[in-house]
């Protein structure tokens, strides 16, 4: 129930990858037959990834994952040795984007962080009014990893296009859950990750629209069109390609299944429990995301009790060093104090069942009751 963190690798993906560890171990840069085998695998995987998002194979750059893709998109599109430039992003981006933007600020660039409404949707008017003459890039995630809110990327693309600004989106959470097409979305760059879609860890890709001028952040033997040097992780890339192909084939079925489980859980919880709220947007929401806040109980304690029942979830309210470290995303949603510490993210996967949802609900309810029975806030 923590699939937004990571997913198990599909056995079909493992099967596709295995030969590339041993029999076909070649380096695609080599001219002999071993190298050619690896090269052919790269071509196939690149096409599978491109097809999955409606792109051309030459627009796909393989990376080590979503974080590197985000870094390359942002740092790579900042011109070097020129006047300070401006980036527009949102307050609820993944740390891979937020911390890269903070680094840019430390280097003298300007960054505007756009606020979100209580449902977690970015303020389009603020994006528009933040645009400056030196704005280079807008980077807004396709859907949020914590509260699942889907962002109006097509509307942002319109604004970006009218002002001749590059648009990047982090689609790590949406591949395999929503249709993702780079032309429909209207983005210039898009990050994706393998391990969120039943592929292996340590591999991802950045889509860069043909004609978009970016420079590398890793230098070496000019792999990946010079944008990402380093001998390719062939087994990983093959796995990503296979996972993308499967995600595409299964999209309709999987997303309907996950949405059914999601809605069933939300209805049960909101319909029969007191002191609970749904964080994020009611409808503009990832089909697999349920993010709840329970009044008068604390996130980590809930997580631990659920873990003892072998249910894995996550919380945006992890406590550290004696002060509650509330996630920036939950803070941005302006939750009341009594709710902000009791958040729980349940992110469903295709292998979960509706029976598991029923069982989760029962365990969740007794967990909350148990913690409330020892909470001094109950009855106040």
């Amino acid at each position: 129930m923590d699939h937004s963190a990571t997913t198990p690798v599909d056995p079909l993906v493992v099967g596709a990858m295995l030969p590339y560890f041993s029999d076909m171990f070649g380096n695609s840069s080599s001219l002999h037959s071993f190298g050619r085998e690896a090269g052919e695998a790269l071509v196939k995987a690149r096409k599978e990834v491109a097809d999955g998002i409606g792109a051309m194979p030459e627009e796909i750059i393989f990376t080590s994952g979503g974080t590197e893709s985000d870094n390359l998109a942002i740092l790579g599109s900042m011109p070097q040795n020129t006047d300070k430039k401006h980036v527009i992003t949102s307050v609820i981006e993944h740390p891979a984007v937020l911390n890269t933007c903070k680094f840019l600020q430390s280097q003298g660039h300007e960054v505007t962080y756009i606020s979100v409404d209580p449902g977690g949707v970015v303020d389009l008017e603020k994006i528009e009014s933040s645009i400056q003459d030196n704005t280079m890039l807008i980077t807004v995630m396709h859907a949020n990893n914590e509260v699942g809110t889907i962002q109006p990327i097509m509307d942002i693309a319109q604004i970006a296009k009218e002002n001749d600004i590059l648009l990047h989106t982090d689609a790590v959470q949406t591949i395999g859950k929503l249709p993702v097409n780079v032309d429909t979305l209207g983005v210039d760059m898009l990050s994706l990750s393998s391990h969120k879609i039943h592929g292996p860890k340590g591999v991802g890709a950045l889509y860069v629209r043909k004609g978009t001028n970016i420079h590398p952040t890793v230098f070496g033997g000019n792999h990946e069109g010079g944008l990402r040097s380093g001998t390719e992780n062939i087994p990983g890339i093959v796995g990503l390609g296979k996972a993308m192909a499967l995600a595409g084939e299964r999209l309709d079925k999987d997303s309907k299944h996950m949405q059914h489980m999601r809605d069933s859980l939300i209805d049960k919880v909101l319909g029969s429990m007191d002191g609970v709220r749904l964080n994020g947007h009611a409808t503009q929401r990832l089909p697999n995301n349920v993010n709840l806040s329970f009044k008068n109980v604390e996130g980590e304690s809930m997580l631990m009790l659920l873990d003892m029942e072998e249910i894995a979830v996550s919380t945006g309210s992890a406590c550290s060093s004696g002060s509650q470290n509330v996630s920036t995303v939950l803070k941005a949603l302006n939750l009341e104090d009594e709710y902000i510490h009791g958040s729980l993210r349940i992110s469903l996967g295709r292998e979960n069942t509706i029976e598991e949802i029923d069982s989760l609900f029962n365990i969740l309810r007794s967990t909350v009751e148990r913690l409330r029975s020892i909470s001094p806030l109950e009855g106040r």
């Binding site: 109980v297 304690s301 104090d337 902000i340």
Partner: protein
């Protein structure tokens, strides 16, 4: 950062002792706020200078709950002076240690106990 809890912490957290509020308490101490995300309430009953009953209610993380429970176990039956001598270290040791970065939380429960004792002593005057 290592975030593995000792068996003892998990035991105390999943089966806390002395949960509740003493209605006719001789002393009550409470620390924390909903803003901080931790609230610990400890109430005590004192007879012959001895804490003969103690209960806690806690809103908070695993460490907040397990230390609250442990502090009440340690203080129960102790003379007021002995209870005041309890240290953070005593509590952490009784829990077989706390993960790095979590050790700061341990003081809250002890603070609540000491506030409860101070409340009791104030009422004696």
């Amino acid at each position: 950062m290592d975030k593995v809890y000792s068996k003892k912490v998990i035991e105390e957290f999943s089966n806390p002792g002395n949960v509740g509020i003493i209605e006719d308490a001789d002393g009550v101490g409470e620390v924390g706020s909903t803003v901080d995300g931790d609230i610990i309430n400890i109430s005590i009953k004192v007879k012959d200078d001895t804490i003969n009953d103690i209960k806690f209610k806690t809103f908070g993380c695993v460490v907040a709950i397990s230390t609250s429970s442990m502090v009440t176990r340690m203080a129960k039956g102790k003379k007021i002076d002995e209870a005041l001598d309890l240290t953070d270290e005593d509590v952490i040791n009784s829990l077989d240690g706390l993960p790095e970065g979590k050790d700061n939380c341990s003081g809250f429960a002890l603070e609540a106990l000491k506030l409860a004792i101070a409340d009791y002593m104030k009422k004696q005057k």
